[in-house]
């Protein structure tokens, strides 16, 4: 049996304790609303403000975490949301079921990385780019380790800088984006001197390490763990020996909760490149989704980075608390969205390499690329091959298959993450109780 069911009443339930969720929770709680924030991680702050030692965080992050602590909002870290409906959201913390009954809900579930399969990508010590950053922030020691970072987009620089500062031996930093596209994007950064300055300071942390544009991972190899990576750039391929390969092709919004609630998602859920803004939750000027009483802020409404997430969180929090949104905030949001569109255009993944037939696409069910036919739909592929039916529920392969074959993910059903039978049983009991 479960340890029990904890039922909480609130005016606003916030799913996700990153910058958007925390900003929204602060504003709504400061306006007198009862706010409960659920997050899967053991600490507040999301990925960008993930920390073990608060002193190591940037001042802005410390300020928001302190403000949240004073706001009166209740935090439930370590809680995985498994289901939600109109006026409620439920989650599990270990085997305890938590049910928050709140008329209003904010989805602030952040983004995940897009992983494009290549031979050897399932080897231990092949991490995401953000994945390497997350592991580093949670205590991974990289001192003296040979590391190749091969990503796409704005995450590459700060992650390479953190790895270098932590003592890693950076062998190469690469971005799959063609140099010509980056040059066009960089020319538009003249109006954002702070971004330029920050970029330069990151680069200074690994000065002397080559930084190559238009460079992709061809394959990784090793006995039991990654030992070497082969890269390709402008027709040339070469191999580097590594202890860690940090690689991904960018970020995709986490839209599963929004899909479960029936919110409109532009271009279907699951993200996965292809440009055009597909895979983000549709919101209006105050972050309201197509569903009554459901707001969405930050990356799930379109990947835009920490500053935009914070602005959207403040807007959502104010609006969900029935407070007016200052016009200056709306203007900042519009400017942030324009910048996000330029980023998306510059670092889009428009020509992914279809992996060789024996390369696994679905890591949960070990489904190789050769088992899939591009003319299928995702649903057909699931039925025929079990692709996307494992523990991650297609969160990894779904985005890849969208980028590779244009497949849009299947509908989303509860539980959103695998939960114990005991916890699920108590979900049913609590549903019966409120039916």
């Amino acid at each position: 049996m479960t340890d029990g069911i904890r039922v909480l009443a609130a005016d606003l339930a916030v799913v996700g304790a990153g910058p958007a969720g925390l900003a929204a929770a602060c504003r709504a709680a400061e306006a007198g609303r009862r706010v409960v924030v659920l997050d899967e991680a053991p600490h507040l702050g999301g990925q960008i403000w993930r920390h073990r030692d608060r002193a190591a965080l940037p001042a802005v992050a410390r300020a928001w975490l302190d403000r949240f602590g004073r706001s009166g909002a209740l935090a439930l870290p370590g809680t995985s949301v498994i289901d939600a409906g109109a006026g409620w959201v439920s989650g599990v913390r270990r085997d305890e079921l938590v049910r928050v009954e709140a008329r209003r809900l904010l989805i602030a579930t952040g983004a995940r990385e897009l992983f494009l399969p290549f031979p050897g990508w399932t080897l231990p010590n092949v991490f995401g780019v953000g994945g390497a950053q997350a592991l580093l922030k949670s205590g991974l020691s990289v001192a003296g380790k040979r590391v190749v970072v091969a990503g796409a987009g704005p995450l590459v620089l700060p992650v390479a800088a953190s790895l270098a500062r932590a003592g890693a031996h950076l062998v190469l930093v690469a971005d799959r984006t063609p140099a010509s596209r980056v040059a066009r994007f960089a020319a538009g950064l003249a109006g954002r001197p702070r971004d330029l300055w920050q970029g330069l300071s990151y680069r200074a942390a690994f000065a002397g390490v080559p930084y190559r544009w238009g460079t992709r991972v061809v394959r990784a190899a090793g006995e039991g763990r990654v030992a070497e990576v082969t890269l390709a750039s402008r027709g040339r391929t070469w191999t580097e020996s590594v202890d860690i390969l940090a690689t991904a092709a960018g970020l995709v919004p986490n839209t599963e909760l929004a899909q479960l609630l029936g919110c409109d998602v532009r271009g279907g859920g699951g993200g996965g490149g292809g440009g055009g803004g597909g895979g983000a939750v549709a919101v209006d000027g105050t972050q309201r989704t197509s569903r009554d009483e459901v707001w969405c802020a930050g990356e799930p409404a379109g990947v835009g980075g920490v500053e935009l997430a914070r602005i959207e969180g403040v807007i959502a929090g104010l609006d969900a608390a029935g407070r007016p949104v200052p016009p200056a905030l709306s203007r900042a949001r519009a400017a942030g969205r324009r910048h996000a569109r330029r980023l998306e255009e510059a670092f889009r993944v428009d020509d992914p390499d279809v992996p060789p037939a024996d390369t696994l696409v679905c890591r949960c069910e070990d489904v190789p690329a050769g088992a899939l036919r591009p003319e299928w739909s995702f649903r057909q592929a699931k039925l025929y091959t079990r692709v996307g039916m494992g523990a991650c529920q297609g969160r990894v392969c779904g985005a890849a298959l969208r980028a590779l074959y244009g497949w849009t993910p299947d509908s989303v059903r509860p539980p959103l993450v695998p939960a114990s039978v005991a916890a699920l049983a108590s979900t049913l009991e609590s549903s019966d109780a409120t039916a």
Binding site: E40, A41, P42, Q47, R52, D53, G78, S80, R94, D95, R112, E113, F115, T122, L123, P124, N125, V126, F127, G128, G130, G131, A132, Q133, A134, L135, S138, G139, L140, S141, G224, R225, N254, R363, C364, E365, D366, G390, A391, C392, R395, V396, P418
Partner: protein, 82 residues
């Protein structure tokens, strides 16, 4: 000086800094195969943030815990490749 906690990983005693995740602790001890896939290949953390489920281990008898989401605790028992 960081305080340490003691874990029992596959029967081996491991002293790790307080506050790290189980994933970071295992990787730091050179334990990079957390589980075996359905076809038997070794897997370790990929996403580091609870998405990919590749870092699943058994913690204090409970299977399927994501090591990247679990902070270490003194006396914790971790079983890999279960």
């Amino acid at each position: 000086m960081t305080r340490t906690v003691s874990l029992l990983v596959d029967g081996r005693l491991l002293d790790v800094p307080e506050g790290v995740t189980v994933a970071a602790a295992l990787l730091g001890a050179g334990e990079d195969a957390f589980r075996d896939s359905v076809a038997g290949s070794p897997r370790g953390p990929l996403c580091g943030m609870g998405i990919c489920f590749e870092c699943r281990v058994t913690i204090d008898g409970a299977p399927g815990r994501r090591a990247c989401l679990e902070p270490v605790a003194d006396g914790m028992r971790v079983t890999t490749r279960d």
